[in-house]
């Protein structure tokens, strides 16, 4: 455990601040959880009918929520089908690699003891606007071929 958390020491650079070593556990926990979810998605394909249940927003509200197609898109990205992922949920296809890159930077900062990763001020509002716009637009029939997740498997 310590050897994994102090790669800087092994590489000959100065040891990271002890607090950095303590805070480096969380990114690995998050990464492990994400890797477990990704493994599950590859093994149990969401294209099989009812493999992950039924989408409640489509069933009860009749609208596609912004996450609709997210599981299918993740499965497609993990199996290399980017076009398929884009056709199911373009927002998640763009956001998932950004989140992965953010995780990498976060883990790097925690290990090296650098300044904590803070989001720019415009980020929460941009997220809100983009997600709401996406969830509205994907239910507009004109844009359905481009944004909607298509029929549920």
């Amino acid at each position: 455990m310590t050897s994994r958390l102090t790669p800087g020491v092994a590489a000959g650079t100065t040891a990271p601040h002890p607090a950095a070593r303590r805070g480096a556990v969380l990114p690995f926990v998050v990464g492990a959880a994400a890797a477990a979810g990704a493994a599950l998605l590859v093994v149990r394909s969401p294209y099989q009918p009812l493999s992950y249940g039924i989408c409640p927003s489509v069933l009860f509200l009749g609208v596609y929520c912004p996450g609709c197609g997210g599981l299918r898109a993740t499965h497609d990205m993990l199996t290399g089908d980017l076009v398929g992922a884009w056709s199911v949920n373009p927002l998640w296809t763009v956001a998932a690699p950004l989140l992965a890159a953010t995780w990498v930077v976060w883990t790097w900062r925690r290990l090296r003891g650098g300044p904590p990763l803070t989001a720019p001020r415009w980020l929460p509002w941009t997220v809100l606007v983009v997600v709401v716009a996406f969830s509205v637009l994907r239910n507009v029939p004109v844009l359905a071929p481009y944004l909607s997740p298509g029929p549920l498997p």
């Binding site: 039924i54 409640p56 927003s57 069933l59 009860f60 509200l61 609208v63 929520c65 912004p66 996450g67 803070t118 989001a119 001020r121 929460p124 509002w125 997220v127 809100l128 997600v131 709401v132 969830s135």
Partner: protein, 197 residues
């Protein structure tokens, strides 16, 4: 202003602005050291347009600070005050020092965004994080690291509303989809018909 500031004459009027008005200390320490007879003159001095920045900033470099002997209210000579007679400023003139920086203001913003998303469709997926992050934001505001406690409360409330919506939909899902499926599955072996294996 006609009153000579003999108790405060210890201040060296090192500013080239000349005579010591000397009453801005009453403005700064009106709750501490200003004696009662100074209050009306303080008002008068301020009406005369004396700038009153005393609690931070470059004014400390002018004149003698509280080191004046026998002067508990730390009178300082004013900085460039002119008896122009304009009304007292509505807010402190520039030079009151750096604005306070709240390092954890982003928590409440994220809580509000997550709460809004939870109400608008993401339900408990962002509702639970909205409540958690909003709780952190309120604690940060209480600790003085943030000043947007109201926004944090809004995020928490919206997060709970979204979570409740999600809970209601989950109950509906169980009642209208899962239970009928279970009953159908349970009843199938007992039916006479082509389904029976």
């Amino acid at each position: 202003m006609t009153q000579p500031n003999e108790p405060r004459a210890g201040d060296a009027p090192s500013t080239p602005e000349g005579p010591v008005y000397g009453r801005e200390a009453a403005y700064a320490s009106h709750d501490v050291g200003a004696s009662t007879q100074d209050a009306p003159t303080a008002a008068r001095d301020h009406a005369a347009g004396q700038p009153a920045p005393t609690w931070a900033g470059p004014d400390d470099q002018h004149g003698a600070p509280a080191a004046s002997p026998g002067d508990p209210s730390a009178a300082r000579p004013p900085v460039g005050g002119t008896p122009a007679g304009y009304p007292p400023p509505g807010y402190p003139p520039p030079g009151y020092g750096p604005a306070p920086f709240y390092p954890r203001n982003d928590l409440a913003v994220w809580s509000l965004v997550l709460g809004l998303l939870s109400v608008l469709g993401c339900l408990f997926f962002t509702g639970i994080p909205a409540v958690v992050v909003g709780g952190n934001a309120r604690r940060a505001a209480a600790a003085g690291e943030a000043n947007n406690d109201g926004m944090a409360t809004a995020g928490v409330v919206l997060g709970w509303v979204g979570t409740a919506l999600g809970g209601l939909l989950a109950i509906m899902f169980v009642l209208t989809v899962l239970l009928p499926l279970m009953f159908v599955g349970f009843a199938v072996p007992f039916l006479d018909g082509p389904w029976r294996h």
